[in-house]
Symmetry: C2
Subunit: 244 residues, 2 copies
């Protein structure tokens, strides 16, 4: 991110790449990005080391630097690349349903590539596929005849809600592991010891937790799903109400 952006952007937006002088390149940026995405899908973003990606392609870490100027840029490319999977969400019909559809699809993308959530920064879009995702949403919001201000507010809110909900879902999914379950049990016990007055100090939190437990079955996972759907509904209702 700190280096000259021109090359990264050129690669993102469909290269130029005139005839070069030296030896032919044995790999390609696409191949490297695909390999990196595979590693990230399997083992998370931290596992995407230059050495690991190089190894996967049968070459050294340093050779990758002739394709991408830094690991950060590689991650930018990965980020944009997976956004192609989302495709276009058309704006026809009821805009409320379209917003819900867009949100669900973006959340699915995050769940399929949880490492997307490990990337921080709300930096403006850099690549064409990210841009397409944003454009799709803006088209829907335009069809709802929101003001420009509300389009921005809604966009920001929707991205945030989807990301937050996806993170919750991913964490919930991970918490089902045996080791994590034990960890939580131990944490709960330690908490009960350390704060015996929890229920009096935090009655509302306790009430919500009790209600959650009452629903039984999959306490975290499905609760997160429902909270997501409902959160989107709340926002849509608000947009509807303040639309005039």
């Amino acid at each position: 991110m700190r280096t000259d952006p021109a090359r990264a952007i050129a690669v993102l937006w469909g290269r130029a790449a005139g005839p070069r002088r030296g030896p032919r390149q044995a790999a390609s940026v696409e191949e490297i990005v695909a390999s990196a995405i595979g590693i990230a899908d399997a083992d998370g973003l931290d596992a995407v080391t230059m050495r690991a990606v190089g190894n996967e392609l049968g070459r050294t870490a340093m050779s990758l630097y002739t394709y991408v100027v830094s690991r950060d840029v590689l991650i930018d490319l990965m980020y944009d690349s997976v956004h192609a999977e989302l495709g276009e969400v058309r704006a026809g019909g009821d805009w409320r349903k379209a917003v819900a559809r867009w949100s669900g699809k973006l959340r699915d993308l995050y769940l399929e590539h949880p490492w997307l959530l490990e990337i921080q920064s709300a930096r403006p879009v850099l690549g064409p596929h990210e841009q397409q995702v944003l454009e799709s949403l803006l088209r829907i919001l335009a069809s709802a005849e929101l003001t420009f201000e509300d389009r921005q507010a809604a966009t920001s809110a929707l991205f945030s809600i989807v990301k937050g909900a996806a993170r919750q879902a991913v964490d919930a999914r991970a918490a089902i592991t045996k080791a994590d379950a034990e960890w939580w049990a131990a944490a709960g016990k330690a908490l009960a010891d350390a704060a015996p007055d929890f229920a009096e100090r935090f009655p509302e939190s306790t009430a919500v937790a009790a209600h959650q437990r009452r629903l039984g079955a999959q306490p975290w996972v499905t609760a997160a799903d429902q909270a997501f759907t409902r959160a989107i509904e709340l926002l849509i209702a608000g947009m509807d109400k303040l639309r005039d």
Copy 2:
């Protein structure tokens, strides 16, 4: 996070600390956490290395491990500690205003300690001050007479929106630096070269950007502020509408 949570939780919730045998400790957990927060405020979370914190206190990195079992736990402690600054947000009066007030205060906290945004995971609350922040919100939502389901949905949405907006604001603030301005100029130029058909491919994005530019002055910063306020308004309106 991977180790026994009991000790971390004991420290978080106000210790026990019976009489120990060896030499007296020359520092305290509070001192270490405060020092780490100072470093993070100044230089971000990455600057909080065990060596840096130790150095600040005139001791070695390894000595810190008698106070906190790992860097991750230190960060948990930092996280909870700064949440004490937010204090209680009372639930009296109009719940709509209270929600807005709570959101604004949390956002201010994030802006004052931007490294909070570098911490990922939507893990359930661990410390008492985080818990208090959640409790305050739940009290407000209870006074609004939302269903339990809607309280969860609204909680999740509000945390997400606040966090997302804060991140945007922090990034906008950072983008005013000279070096970054140059970077963006270069990126813009590169983008114009790489995608001359941008405006046709992404008409809605272009329209929003044009509207933004038309407003002039501080294009990013105040726009982010307004989008935040409006996003919260949208959600509150939705809660209001679907309340029955």
